[in-house]
Symmetry: C2
Subunit: 410 residues, 2 copies
């Protein structure tokens, strides 16, 4: 099995070929997985006041649902994520799902213990209803007329899938970054329907700087002449340059300064200072960023990017609780695990400590781990011994609490 | 006198109307200043191997050159700076030069004591020969055929101006950011021609992250369909969208996260969450960034931006000294003042400490001040009591050393 040079997922900016994955893939992989699609005819009322009359959710599951349906785990994805979190789609699939390092037999989210559900959110561009889907009222793709979404819309649609799957309570809801925001929102909106909430590299709300970076990304997309106010499919084009730039900005900010320095330093692409034109690529970091932008620009939908970043900007857990996160968390009934990474500067440890402080003040059970890691925000996706151990120990506790005695699987 | 809402210079991202300027403008201003132009017929050989057969430098001077020409100060500008560092161009000029807070009677760079020379570097877009100028060999504007520049080219052209002005040694060369790089290069190339070197918010070389941000800015410009590989004047257009994006990225990174948070927080533009389209402006920070990008895109030349950022990326003080800054600084003969700002993350205090450590190891006289400031990299332009005091004290020392007894001007 060979890894792609640029990481095992479009979410990931790290060259995983250089990383110690520590667990062999064969016995610890969920193996071949199949994408499933669930159609919903029941309308979904959205926070913006509009209604999705019908929609599809694509999802994957790993592991088996137990007889009392108590071992189900929901994975909420981040900005550019999707349903394919673990395993392979075919024998010759070059790379596994985006969180394969953490989902599988013997891994922190252990498929021997849990029934793991991972979906693509509405508004996405990987199969669930989104801007690329046909709006049945017009017979044409939604494009930028797709309704504005908020985190709670994802929570509500995830809950419809939950019902279809016959689950009345999640053993845990787990998410990193924007996924962590969905997990937190679940804990307030449907407090009886989850036992544990795992919030990784997330925040109660974005900072102005974070909003600013998202705004630059959106501006890059919307000022691309091929954007056509979001109706680019009508013109048979995509705003490729805008997406490239958006992704390049994203990449820089998801990596740590030190991680980037260690990986690229000031290494020259051709080993020499060419003193060529001002457009030449001379540093490795430039070449890497251009490659990342290029890959993303042909694999992700621009309207989805606009919509996801807006949902991220607008998320503010405590807004409707008098701007008091303690008041907000008083509604929760689950236990919490919060994880942050030392070099993550877009969702800094300080942001996670705000979550933890509010949970403590709200007298909720909470465990917190601040993980020494060199990969910035992307650290939540990358193998890391301490992170794996902490996460695994917590999830084993969840398993014991729900299932009883240790299984022999681990 | 009224200030523009968005700072007193295009280099500056701070709303100066909210700031305590502490010194009234009238008695501490250099007053009305005139732009001068010096034409050079003597060819300038450039680091890239090409030669500028002739060129112009525009500059301003503040204060008077003393009889032994010992009180001259050279100001080196940063990425988007220019010659107009202090004073006003007319009675109704809405704003002073970009470093007016630090240059003038009684200010740190005291025009009662010093003869201050501030020029626009070659390659610039404010009057000195650059991509907008006519290439006499073709009779057409240079545009992107303008030669690639390195810091040492600026040093060499500044030195030609120095000769014309009858100065054989600078009392001090002072620069912030890219300007600090020029000051350092002077100290190695022409060690006998400066007595003091003041390096503010600078670095021995850029980090990979810093190069990456510059690369995104360049990509934004070069992927603008109006860029035409830099020959946009031939098409009677400018790559306005690209420049806007480049400036927006720049702005975010020149400000500190806390400063941005304090200034904008998550304040909403219309006071309410409109849940409108994904392209709507909803946060103040978005509106501010768009305004900044807009202003810059119509006032700065894209080819100059490409050229300046490349020079910034390539600067590496110690490259030709076996990558050892101590070896490099052994060539210097001047004294040094190094200043950094606590919240500057593009030219972090750590980078300044690397300069200081190398200077100490090279046994050079050096003073270092790490200033508590909330404005990120832009702090070097902004009034700040401790920075003013430290800078003023150092420059008074320079004045005493050169001129003798204290004047009554302060």
């Amino acid at each position: 099995m060979e890894y792609c040079r640029y990481g095992y997922d479009c979410l990931d900016s790290i060259d995983c070929a250089n990383m110690d994955r520590s667990m062999p893939l064969d016995e610890h992989s969920v193996g071949l997985v199949t994408v499933q699609t669930q159609h919903f005819d029941q309308p979904l009322e959205l926070a913006c006041g509009r209604t999705l009359l019908q929609y599809d959710l694509v999802y994957e599951t790993y592991g088996k649902l137990n007889s009392d349906q108590s071992n189900a785990i929901l994975i909420c994805h981040a900005l550019s994520g999707h349903h394919h979190a673990a395993g392979y789609h075919s024998e010759d699939d070059p790379k596994p799902g985006w969180w394969d390092g953490y989902i599988g037999p013997g891994k922190p989210i252990d498929s021997n213990e849990f029934y793991i559900v991972s979906l693509n959110n509405i508004g996405g561009c990987h199969g669930s209803t989104g801007p690329l889907s046909i709006n049945l009222e017009t017979g044409k793709p939604w494009q930028s007329d797709f309704p504005t979404l908020r985190c709670r819309d994802w929570v509500n649609s995830q809950r419809q899938l939950m019902k279809v799957l016959g689950i009345s309570q999640w053993a845990a809801i787990i998410g990193g970054s924007l996924g962590g925001m969905q997990a937190m929102r679940w804990s307030l909106e449907y407090p009886d329907e989850l036992r544990h909430c795992v919030i990784i590299a997330s925040a109660l709300k974005l900072t102005a700087q974070n909003i600013a970076f998202n705004e630059v990304a959106r501006q890059a997309i919307s000022s691309d002449p091929n954007f056509h106010e979001g109706y680019y499919l009508d013109h048979d084009v995509i705003p490729k340059q805008g997406l490239r730039l958006a992704r390049m900005v994203g990449h820089i900010t998801y990596l740590s300064e030190d991680g980037m320095g260690e990986k690229f330093g000031r290494e020259l692409k051709n080993g020499t200072f060419s003193l060529g034109s001002n457009e030449d690529i001379e540093f490795q970091i430039e070449s890497y960023l251009r490659h990342q932008g290029e890959v993303f620009s042909t694999s992700f939908d621009a309207n989805t990017y606009m919509l996801m970043t807006k949902a991220l900007d607008f998320f503010d857990l405590a807004r409707e609780y008098g701007d008091d996160p303690v008041e907000a968390f008083k509604n929760a009934k689950c236990s919490f695990l919060v994880v942050s990474f030392t070099t993550d500067w877009r969702f800094a440890p300080e942001r996670s400590r705000e979550i933890v402080d509010a949970l403590i003040a709200a007298k909720k059970p909470v465990s917190y781990a601040e993980i020494e890691a060199n990969f910035g925000h992307d650290a939540f996706l990358i193998p890391n011994k301490r992170y794996q151990n902490v996460f695994h120990a917590y999830m084993q506790r969840v398993a014991r609490e729900i299932i009883g005695e240790p299984s022999n699987a681990v």
